[in-house]
């Protein structure tokens, strides 16, 4: 397939998805967040084309849509790993040894904190408190929570994502 047709099939897919979302949530401003959230989930990040299209239909400027997308941590405006590992960094997690957990993750994935693996599969981040301080240290991989982490446990968990 040529580069051009691959590109147009992607935009077609985006158009289709967006149409479904506009049907589901409507085209008022209040529909913006759920639409961006679902597009982020489907496409890994909210790229320029999505921003332009959403702006057009919701009758907003593209900068305004970008302004919203870039405000929220979990809405991404740049490509990111398929699996985002967010290690909680509140003091209960720090005291329970989250540094060790981060080190193990860095070594296992071959990346540093804040980086994405070269195959685009994993991104490693620190996160603000994820509400699991009673089971610290804790982390999220995308939407799934992992608690009472130990280095060994981390290695086992990663096997499920490889």
């Amino acid at each position: 397939m040529s580069v051009l047709s691959a590109k147009s099939s992607l935009t077609e897919r985006i158009d289709n998805d967006l149409n479904k979302l506009f049907e589901k949530y409507g085209t008022t401003r209040a529909a913006l967040m759920p639409i961006l959230q679902e597009m982020n989930e489907n496409y890994n990040y909210i790229g320029e084309y999505i921003i332009m299209k959403v702006a057009e239909i919701l009758d907003m400027s593209a900068t305004e849509v970008y302004g919203v997308a870039s405000f929220y941590h979990f809405l991404r405006t740049e490509p990111i790993g398929d699996f985002v590992i967010s290690v909680s960094d509140c003091t209960p997690c720090v005291m329970a040894g989250n540094e060790k957990i981060i080190k193990v993750l860095e070594n296992e994935l071959g990346i540093k904190l804040g980086e994405t693996s070269s195959d685009g599969k994993f991104t490693l981040e620190k996160a603000s408190c994820i509400g699991l301080c009673d089971q610290a240290p804790a982390m999220l991989i995308n939407n799934d929570a992992y608690t009472d982490l130990t280095p060994e446990k981390v290695v086992e968990i990663l096997k499920n994502y490889r």
Binding site: T28, R29, A30, A31, L32, M33, P34, L36, Q37, L58, G67, V68, F71, Y72, H73, F74, L75, D89, C90, T91, P92, V94, M95, A127, S128, C129, I130, G131, L132, C133, D134, Q135, A136, L140, N143, D144, A145
Partner: protein
Amino acid sequence: MSKEKRILLDGKEYKAGEAIKIAAGKSGEDIIKIIKDAGIKGRGGAGFPTGLKWSFCYNEKDPEKYIISNADEGEPGTFKDRVLLQKNPRQHFEGMVVGGLAIKAAKGYMYLRHEYKRFVPDFEKVLDDMRNDNHLGKNIMGSGIDFDIEIRLGSGAYVCGDESALLESIEGKRGEPRNKPPYTASQGFLNKPTIVNNVETWTYIPLIISKGAKWFKQFGKGDNPGTKLFSISGDVDKPGVYEFDKGVSLQTVLDEAGAKNTKAVQVGGYSGVLVAPQDFNKPLEYGPEGLPPGGSIIVYNNTRDMVEVLLNYMHFFYEESCGQCVPCREGTYEMVRTLEKIKCCEASSRDIDKLTELAEVMTISSKCGLGQTVPTPFFSAMENFKEEFLVRECAL
């Protein structure tokens, strides 16, 4: 003997649909009177009387009103709402329906933090069950009122715990707090009258309606009736969510959770106070002698470094400042910078004095609760642990 209570946590007092059935047969005024008589104050932390908030919204002339549940539990060290929602989401939603019936609301939204997204399928199922039982939807239990609830997700912004920022977010905007007044009770979601309450408050409502104000007032103390949930973490044997009568002392809570060799306790989340042992006997309650009763308690034992602790807090606030107003955006940056200097043993008392001055400015000139309370843990750290900030062992 254990002083723990399990009114909310056990859920045994709750019978699904009972409160909705009662509320459906009452006028809005009568429902609000029960809540007012019970004297419940908002469980989110600010402690505004719930009945009064509802009556403000009820008295607004605009007929289009909204109900919001603030489930954006982002204060570090807080996880009580998660536990409550995992145990009994229906009781929480039923509270929202009672509120909806009281003010004849057009719709309810639950604003759930992104980090709890994994619970959404369970919650959707509960909402479906409620629709099947006519506890949601058209003409709820013959009341003539239509009301439904939609779950909206946050996307990882701590500042959205501020109710006006939360509303901006549901409206599809950046989660930047609004100027107050006007308050949300008169101009909330889409500038319509709106009741915003915390998950814990909503979860209490069905019990108050079913069992009455008098029942509720047997718990707690005087002006602060009921029980309260506390999230306890850090250096304790048994971290978790505990429930106590309102007005319980911090020491009682620490004993129950098994805290030993405690040096300091962060009460009320990162934006609360860093309490030293001489104040452990104070009550977790509003008032000049009280400690912030929001519910987050992080325990530090005598091996912990308060400079590192405060630096962690300030990193968090720096990350989470929405950047809208200067005192908060620049103030949090300066806090981090100077604390890094203190950590590296390169700061003098002049740096601390400057930081204190900055903290005072942030308190009075920041736009919302975030910037205004960033300095709170700093002030209490200075009051209780200043020596650690002046001389660190690594310098010797």
